[in-house]
Point group: C2
Chain length 562, copies 2
């Protein structure tokens, strides 16, 4: 019998042309790709009733050159002054740059740019060199009522820096990315807010060579966007890393910060704890540029001791038992795993493919022992910390998982997951080339509402025909966890997509989840904020807004939707 | 040779007469006492150049009956309305009650009341029965611009509820002390804010019997004032318990709360984490009644497993080595001890007496091994949590302490310390009967400033002749710790005492410590707040104040000193 050659779609494996729409919306590294593997490709065809034929021709690619006709509306005198402040070489009014630094990573933006639809773009891009320049620019903009947006790593998934009222966009990652101090005694690092994850982590891992420290350190914060998000962004959007169950969320990891506001620049107290009134630091955390611009951060750092890391993985009979085990671990008072990730049956189905379990001896044993497809659930994890601590965590986790009927899968699946942990966003471009959208929404829940929220949201998502919905929980606390919904649909209609997304958000909040666990609010979520917080609490935020920014120049249209 | 009978002062060991000044200022249980033991008594005589003779006659006792002439200034109509709201049986305008619920636990107040000096007292005492009544009263007071203070457990050491502008005082502990829910799934307990420590802990320890839970729980928060402080007070003053290094400070332990403000009543979000803008909960924490009144609290609870508790104690050669070991433990990533307490040489000198080490075989071995009096430093601790976790902590702590030259003292000193942990405040009344003042001030520090702050503050305190100064650190973080200064002086002049206290506060902040680690601000510390926070940050707090309380009726003269 002749072997048929397996069809592989012609996934784009080339950096986008400079100046193209694709170069604007492509995530991360222009040379970075993660093509759907054979298993996922087969799954997509099956789900969406597609054949190889449907993957012979791309629907939209965005390879066209950006050609807009949206002149900058900014007063020439203001541009001139900003040129003086930051240097002409550090500003741009080209339409391409203005579009690029107005664009985040929402599916909606990608759909539009693939169709050459551009909406509002900033009027001026500025790459400030230091915090004094930022204060000068904010003062100038405040005087002239010019809106100011901040672009950190550009990975917002909710229009977090969308220039709703046009104005200027400050790009913090270009120059303001320096490590100012690694303080080994206090275990803190002070950095400029525009530094991206890898540079920060690299400086800490190499603290002996770079800062004369005795020890190596880690920042402990590894969101999926790690490579393309800034430390300032982590804080103002209240982000969480993939090891947050041990290290804490961004909100726990910042010790103090310096922020530039229309009311001036200040640095918050940097004591490890202090009982001197409500903490100003807390007011800035999560403020998404609406109060001011975080320019410097002092971050709590940890020992970098990867040799102590333990890996583990388990298969459970069902979602209920993996949730029960996770709760027992989270409330077990023996320390927390770092990576701690449980997948519901549909995600497990894909995870077993992706982490290379399918078809292995594990697969056979699982089947033999009665872990049924479409029911079974995957748990992968790691433990970080001192040797004795990580050893004990692994031991206790194993004990609890076994008690809940799980089978141990060795470190294999967690080790298989780890190297690709930042790569998933690259899938999006390939899928969208063929009209398939992959998008995520996430929420936080208390333990007693995890099943209700999971069921209701999943039910809504699956009520749309031909829809994949993968759910995991990956940030754990004694009081609850998060739920992360990944949905994959075939959809070409932007409005239909938006309606579906709105429906999911509405369902999340109706069923008892928070509006966001770690993605922040942005223009996308802000319409739900008052309903979520209640009028009185919204008014407190508005009072702060009015105090910091009476002229509403700081990221207008973002967090506050005004 | 005839044995001389040892002289023991006639320490008062009788509940104060009802209606006396002493009954107003006496700490805690009217029948509670902790008389100085023989060793401390000898030490006091030595330090202050006193003889037994000086302890034959008391200087001030406050046993006189309270007789004031300070009529309530409150409008009769308002009193009438409040009587209607809360019931006449739950209000009082007697001078005794008004004085009692205006009085905290500062040395200054005690000195004054012993001399029949009374300053401002509240005009009406109200014991509200529920949160709806509080909202009605706050609305009424807001309309009439009547100041409102809150008395929880009454243990403020900084005039936290002093009625600077007179008005009404709400006593929350009388009726609003119920446990509303113990949620075993989420590991939370929801209670009325006036509940005191023992009732709360008792309900949690007995959750199976009282709430039908499967497990027993603990609140994890055990400040020295535990028996006479309320959960609402813990939160609005940002308190810390003696086991905070493991369980966290009050600020870490509250999940959500309900608060009544002149702008209305609201309940904050109760997700374990959420990225929906700056957290309103954080705005209320530490607000010391200046924004509103916390009426209900949802608290994070822990497993109650005292059988797992490990105890340990060590003697170190000096302060530097015990600080180094503490830092290594705090940054060791194997979990934290619960009680974690290190004493400087002067406190160690007293601690060894108090914890029964002096004169034992340990004492001889210590001397033999070269742990010198006036240099050596004591460390006592416990570990809480699951068995394997506490066992490992004890093992790691031992390893680190030995590395830093310490000698293990067995669980003995920690076990000796534990039963008397809430009793020290009772010492104050005996000493003050003879004109000796025992007072405390405390601060938080980063690791790299612990020695500077300790030395400078101690130097200042010791520059006063005949002064005892004991210092310990008892709340640990990877980034730093606190310093708790206990000073004992003989002083009869109120102004001289106040000047000395001001000098210490000034020295703390000058040398780099925070104004308070866990006692809060109150009228006593508030004059330093703007200097400490800076004008811009103070204005942020003022903006919030203005939003919540435009008429400045909520605890005026407290946190904001206005």
């Amino acid at each position: 019998m002749a072997k048929h050659k397996i069809f592989i779609p012609d996934w784009i494996h080339k950096a986008p042309e400079p100046g193209s729409y694709r170069s604007v919306f492509k995530y991360g590294d222009p040379e970075g790709f993660k093509h759907p593997n054979e298993r996922l490709f087969q799954e997509l065809k099956k789900t969406f009733n597609l054949s190889d034929e449907d993957f012979r021709k791309k629907e939209t690619t965005g390879i066209e050159k950006v050609e807009l006709n949206i002149p900058s509306k900014l007063d020439k005198k203001i541009i001139e002054k900003i040129n003086q402040i930051s240097g002409k070489e550090n500003t741009s009014v080209t339409e391409y740059d203005r579009l690029k630094y107005s664009t985040g990573q929402t599916v909606e933006e990608h759909m539009k740019l693939r169709r050459k639809i551009t909406e509002k773009i900033t009027d001026l891009v500025v790459h400030p060199r230091n915090k004094m320049e930022i204060q000068e620019i904010v003062d100038l903009c405040n005087k002239n009522k010019t809106p100011v947006y901040v672009y950190g790593g550009g990975s917002s998934v909710n229009f977090g820096f969308y220039p709703e009222k046009r104005g200027i966009t400050l790009v913090l990652s270009t120059h303001m990315n320096k490590v100012l101090e690694v303080n080994e005694i206090n275990q803190t690092a002070t950095v400029e807010a525009g530094i991206l994850g890898p540079a920060f982590e690299n400086a800490l891992n190499n603290a002996p060579e770079k800062s004369g420290c005795k020890k190596r350190f880690t920042c402990g914060h590894f969101p999926q966007s790690f490579e393309y998000s800034s430390i300032g962004g982590w804080i103002v959007t209240l982000g969480s890393g993939q090891q947050s169950s041990y290290y804490g969320d961004a909100a726990d990891l910042v010790l103090s910060l310096e922020v530039v506001t229309p009311k001036g620049t200040f640095k918050t107290l940097d004591y490890p704890a202090t009982a001197t009134g409500p903490k100003i630091l807390e007011v800035i955390k999560g403020s998404e540029g609406a109060f001011g611009i975080v320019v410097e951060v002092t971050w709590k750092i940890f020992r970098y001791i990867p040799e102590n890391r333990k890996y583990f993985g388990f298969i459970f009979h069902n979602w209920e038992s993996v949730v029960n085990a996770s709760r027992e671990i989270s409330q077990g008072e023996f320390g927390m795993p770092a990576v701690f990730r449980i997948s519901d049956p549909e995600e497990t189905h894909h995870g077993l493919k992706l982490y290379g379990i399918e078809g292995t001896v594990f697969d056979k044993i699982m089947a033999f022992r009665g872990y049924k497809p479409e029911e079974r659930c995957l748990f992968i994890g790691t433990a970080d910390g001192s040797t004795s601590f990580t050893k004990n965590i692994k031991k206790q986790v194993k004990r609890i998982c076994r008690k809940h009927g799980a089978m141990y899968l060795t470190p294999y699946p967690a080790k298989k997951w780890e190297p690709g942990r930042y790569r998933d966003p690259y899938l999006k471009e390939d899928l969208m080339d063929y009209g398939i959208l992959i998008d995520t929404l996430e929420t936080s829940v208390n333990w007693d509402s995890v099943h209700t929220v999971h069921q209701k949201v999943r039910e809504f998502i699956k009520s749309r025909p031909l829809t994949i919905c993968l759910t995991h929980a990956s940030h754990f606390y004694p009081q609850g966890t998060n739920l992360y919904f990944i949905y994959i649909i075939k959809e070409n209609d932007i409005e239909a997509y938006k309606e579906f997304q709105k429906g999911i958000i509405q369902k999340i909040t109706e069923s008892g989840g928070s509006l966001s666990h770690h993605h922040g609010v942005g223009r996308m979520i802000s319409p739900w904020m008052e309903q979520h917080l209640g009028k009185q609490q919204m008014e407190i935020l508005m009072a702060l807004k009015k105090h910091f920014d009476p002229n509403n120049i700081m990221n207008p249209g973002g967090l506050f939707n005004t």
